[in-house]
Amino acid sequence: MSDQGSYYQRDRSWHPAALTPQYKTSVLRSPQYPLLSLDNTISEMTGPRFGHGTIGPLDNDLIRNFAKTGDAIGQRIIVYGRVLDENARPVPGALVELWQANAGGRYRHKKETYLAAIDPNFGGCGRAITDAEGRYWFRTIKPGAYPWPNGVNDWRPAHIHFSLFGHAFAQRLITQMYFEGDPMIWQCPIVSTISDKAAIDQLTAVLDRNATLPMDALAYKFDIVLRGRRSTMFENRMEGN
């Protein structure tokens, strides 16, 4: 591997801004000063790595990993994809963590009071580590839409939260996955913190009939892109990205 430089600057017009008043909680939780720009130092170009030994055999199976008396209730789905960097290279060994509500839109969390029922066989957390080609996969239940106290009648689209560790702390990312064709994507104040439709589309998983397990589970494909890294092509040799 050639000597590598810092990670590409984040495009903060592609990401959501800090202050997005339609998402009310952001109003008092957004910094007012500009961020201090800092080309990566080694403090940001390193990061924790999690071995495959971290992961148990059911950690990526949300239908079974909290099951007490049977499988979780709801639409059985596979969520799979690759973790890539901006150079379109796979990111192997990435820790992918996810969490979600159950089929009725109810989270298993002590501060959650929505009246939809808890599923006794569904916890809602999963994790995986990408393989040598950057691939991950989960088996889960498609989450339901969920009302929340923002506007008087705001509902979140069906979504799965994703947390990613790449190879550097500079790549640390938390995001949300939405489902192709859901009309609620386009009326959500959290989705609309992202101003570019193409960026929202990047968070929308597509139905993949070819990856579906017949008579068992539908499949959605969701690729995730982390920051890419410069090659120091003029200091060393012309290898490029």
Binding site: D11, W14, H15, P16, A17, T20, Y23, T25, S26, V27, L28, R29, S30, P31, L35, L36, S37, L38, N40, T41, I42, S43, M45, T46, G47, P48, F50, G56, D59, F66, E86, N87, A88, E97, W99, Y107, R108, H109, K110, K111, G123, G124, C125, R127, S163, H167, F169, R172, I174, I190, T193, I194, A199, I200, Q202, L203, I224, V225, G228, N241
Partner: protein, 208 residues
């Protein structure tokens, strides 16, 4: 039509939301039996080299209210200033220190707390030493993209004065927002690092 670059766009961030604990610290919200223990709770063991310290603090919103649903992650070098990462090319870090930790802010008091070690100094890009520091990352409901900051140590005045990163803060009155004051708690050196997201004494956040 111009040629197109072949690079991809980074996946855009979204808020971690109020239930981030389900994925990050499930045992802490009583989702038990899925994995044995939550990742990142313990940084030090009996064989870890370095001075044991406590790092604690709270996160405040723009009205001065304490945020009780935040998640804090830290990343730091070992006692000799080496990172436990395959990207670390300067030497082999202490194998008994991962250097990464994760804690929720307490649902009642809003306090976060890590037991860790004081990191050694690591070099800036040009070889000058930065002052000892811990990288801190904050996510919560209402935060659309995770906030990066750095904790520096109040008892490292000489090192802080020559740190090339701290020197980049143009408005010097903001510099103390990155300095954690040292105190003692049950005989342990304790550094308090409060994070103010907005308004008076707003913490310096980095675009790294």
């Amino acid at each position: 039509m111009f040629q197109k670059l072949t690079t991809l766009k980074e996946s855009p961030s979204q808020t971690a939301g109020p239930y981030v604990h389900i994925g990050a610290t499930p045992n802490w919200v009583e989702i038990t039996g899925v994995w044995d223990e939550d990742l990142g709770l313990v940084l030090v063991g009996p064989d870890t080299k370095g001075e044991r310290i406590i790092v604690k603090g709270r996160v405040f919103d723009g009205s001065g209210n304490v945020i009780k649903d935040a998640l804090i992650e830290i990343w730091q070098a070992d006692a000799d200033g080496l990172y436990n990462s395959p990207e670390e090319k300067r030497g082999k870090a202490d194998p008994n220190f991962v250097g990464w930790g994760r804690q929720p802010t307490d649902g009642t008091t809003g306090e976060y707390r890590f037991e860790t070690i004081k990191p050694g100094r690591v070099p800036y890009k040009d070889g000058r030493l930065m002052a000892p520091h811990i990288t801190v990352w904050v996510v919560a409901r209402g935060i659309n993209i995770g906030l990066h900051t750095r904790l520096y140590f109040g008892d490292e005045e000489a090192a802080n004065a020559e740190c090339p990163v701290l020197a980049r803060i143009e408005h010097k009155f903001r510099l103390p927002t990155l300095i954690a004051a040292r105190s003692e708690e049950n005989g342990m050196p304790t550094y308090t690092f409060d994070i103010r997201l907005q308004g008076e004494n707003e913490t310096v956040f980095f675009d790294i």
